[in-house]
């Protein structure tokens, strides 16, 4: 009998996310409650209780990438939401209000899981949906941490909220908390994180066996399915594939690698091709993305888990944020940084001018920014982006000449 060919990891990873949404639809049909969760709410809790959960941020990114973002944003604006609030929030609010959306349908929520470690707009966004559907909102508040470590007081504050969330979700699910199952789920989540970080680490090779844009696609798994064993296995397979690529001298980046950059921020999903085209034509590979350290967290026990959830891109202080980024820039040998000033994400864009100064000073690399939006194409100008990428390339070329050619 012929051996069944093993599916590439990227297909397996895509199927995992698709199954997650299929499972949510099935649960809805069975009459089970289905939740909507922010991307960095402790997924371990719902997973332990066997609750099916969907992710509005992931949905909004998918809708945007399929060019439905503007239509959904305009729907939300016609409901009265301002056009300068987050594009993901507008898309999600429109969907929750019943806007038709073939790009990425998902079941409407019966409960909400909101953690504001990833963004502050999230709180009002979820409160609005809770009111719209008259459903429970389980909130975990993680204040901005102005220190580089997470103090015991902060851990206590978050742990208390974890315990309360468990009680509320026990009621919603009708199931009792199982400590052994929780340990198993945490083990899976840690295994996924380790494998994700390992896969990301292959960007450190020169030439890189992958493009950072691949990591944007795989983000969906680390956000939505990190507590599942199959996700960990798929990321391990992905890392193995990159390992093999290094040995074979192959790459998912099929172009020259004249330069290596960090792409800072969430991509403009509706304009992925536009973002990518000038980079590939000039041989600029993205070998560092901030998502890697932001979602690759490993912990031991519930207190450590509270510490881990304290560390999201917009809840850590600027020193920690700079350390993360400069670490991956050094590890992945970048000679430039392309910063997306994301109109949807004020906190993230707000601290970038200072970070840009630090990158130039500490790393001595070219740093260039452009205006755009993660979901709303009206906030992006292709001509402006092209000029900035040309400028970045020209500075990196000049720097390379001064250093005497390739690294």
């Amino acid at each position: 009998m012929a051996e069944v060919e093993k599916k590439p990891a990227k297909i397996v990873l895509r199927e995992i996310v698709a199954k997650l949404y299929d499972d949510a639809w099935e649960a809805k049909k069975r009459g089970e409650p289905v939740g909507w969760s922010s991307s960095k709410f402790p997924a371990e809790i719902a997973e332990t209780l066997g609750l099916k959960v969907c992710y509005p941020e992931n949905q909004a990114a998918a809708i945007s990438a399929k060019h439905g973002g503007q239509r959904m944003c305009e729907y939300a604006e016609s409901m009265g939401y301002a056009n300068d609030i987050c594009g993901y929030a507008r898309i999600s609010l429109a969907y929750a209000a019943g806007a038709e959306c073939e790009e990425k349908p998902m079941p409407q929520p019966d409960f909400l899981l909101c953690c504001n470690n990833i963004c502050n707009c999230m709180t009002k966004w979820y409160e609005n949906i809770a009111r719209m559907h008259n459903i429970p909102l389980i909130m975990i508040d993680i204040p901005y941490n102005n220190e580089t470590t997470v103090s015991d007081d902060r851990v206590k504050y978050v742990r208390g909220q974890f315990e309360d969330a468990i009680k509320q979700l026990e009621k919603i699910s009708g199931r009792k908390w199982d400590e052994e199952r929780f340990k198993e789920v945490c083990k899976n989540a840690n295994r996924t994180s380790k494998a994700w970080l390992k896969a990301c680490s292959y960007c450190g090779y020169t030439p890189s066996p992958l493009s950072g844009f691949d990591l944007f696609n795989h983000m969906a798994d680390v956000v939505t399915a990190r507590c599942k064993k199959e996700t960990a296995i798929a990321f391990e397979q992905l890392a193995d594939e990159y390992e093999q690529s290094v040995k074979d001298g192959t790459s998912t980046w099929h172009y020259d690698e004249n330069h290596r950059i960090m792409f800072e921020g969430i991509p403009c999903w509706p304009e992925l091709r536009t973002l990518f085209t000038p980079l590939k034509s000039k041989g600029i590979n993205t070998t560092a993305v901030v998502y890697a350290p932001a979602f690759g967290f490993v912990y031991d026990g519930i207190d450590d888990m509270a510490r881990a959830y304290y560390k999201a891109p917009n809840s850590v202080c600027i020193e920690t944020g700079v350390d993360w980024r400069e670490g991956i820039c050094r590890d992945n040998n970048v000679d430039g940084v392309l910063v997306h000033y994301n109109r949807s994400c004020k906190p993230w864009s707000g601290y970038m001018p200072e970070m840009e100064r630090r990158f130039r000073k500490d790393l001595g690399v070219a740093v260039v920014n452009f205006d755009g939006d993660q979901a709303d194409p009206r906030n992006f100008s292709e001509a402006q982006y092209m000029t900035r990428v040309d400028g970045l390339y020209e500075i990196m070329e000049e720097n390379k000449k001064k250093k005497g050619g390739n690294k």
Partner: protein, 269 residues
């Protein structure tokens, strides 16, 4: 054996720089990377007949043909719209290179064009090391001044002269071009002197561009390029805002095309 010394005449190297901006097309022909032998400017830019006309004119001025050009380099917003060029480069590097050719020891270039404003930082060798540009908004650009001139019923070229006659301080506080236009209309409705309004407009543009300049850091000497550099009102307002002397040249609007011609010459060497 008697050696006969032959006089070797080197053929000159001509390079053409084309700057296709959003509101004007500019061309410069350089001889041997040193001498400007021809220039042209057509006041319409990308997507119009401007680039073609500017190229014809610049060649006609010096009685040369396109085939005489050793290298042709295009820059500006419409740089990708001309198919016969040898290379395209961003206007960022070209303005930096052009300014470094025109001025000594230049470290900061402020370029206000038709639809964008940019501040460039140059290294000691005259190369671009950093830059900052306006965001997705036309405030602080040449287009902003065009809109205001239209409302005030004056020619764009008259703004500097009229603004210099201002006696009273008028604040135009909106950054949005549309709202600033409404402010100007309100001032006109209140019979505010046109010269005072123009001075306020110049300060508004200067404040916006100065904030960009501060982000990238202002280092002497500072040079202003681009079409708006011809407006002494904006230039003086910027000097005041940044508390620094700003140099410019009658050649300001050609700086990008000149930089393109210089890069083109570099390619021939």
């Amino acid at each position: 054996m008697k050696l006969i010394k032959e006089k070797v005449t080197m053929k000159p190297i001509y390079t053409l720089g084309i700057d296709v901006g959003s509101t004007a097309s500019k061309c410069v022909i350089l001889k041997d990377g040193k001498e400007i032998v021809s220039k042209s400017l057509i006041p319409v830019g990308a997507g119009t007949s401007g680039p073609k006309r500017a190229i014809s004119e610049v060649l006609e001025n010096c009685q040369l043909k396109k085939e005489d050009m050793s290298y042709i380099l295009a820059t500006g917003y419409g740089r990708n719209s001309i198919d016969f060029v040898d290379q395209q480069m961003s206007e960022l590097s070209c303005h930096a290179r052009g300014a470094a050719f025109l001025f000594e020891n230049v470290h900061t270039v402020i370029d206000i064009g038709g639809q964008d404003a940019k501040v460039l930082r140059l290294g000691n060798d005259g190369n671009l090391v950093n830059f900052v540009m306006n965001d997705k908004c036309a405030a602080g650009t040449g287009r902003f001044l065009d809109v205001m001139a239209r409302v005030l019923e004056v020619e764009i070229g008259q703004l500097a002269e009229l603004g210099a006659k201002a006696k009273n301080h008028v604040e135009i506080s909106s950054t949005c071009t549309v709202f600033a236009e409404s402010e100007v209309i309100s001032q006109l409705a209140m019979n505010t002197d046109r010269c005072d309004i123009i001075d306020g407009i110049h300060r508004s543009v200067a404040a916006r561009v100065a904030s960009l300049a501060r982000r990238v850091g202002v280092e002497q000497s500072v040079v202003m390029t681009g079409g708006v550099a011809q407006n002494a009102g904006v230039l003086h307002a910027l000097e005041k805002e940044l508390n620094t002397k700003i140099e410019t040249s009658p050649f300001a609007q050609y700086t990008g095309a000149l930089g393109a011609a210089l890069f083109a010459y570099q390619k021939c060497k």
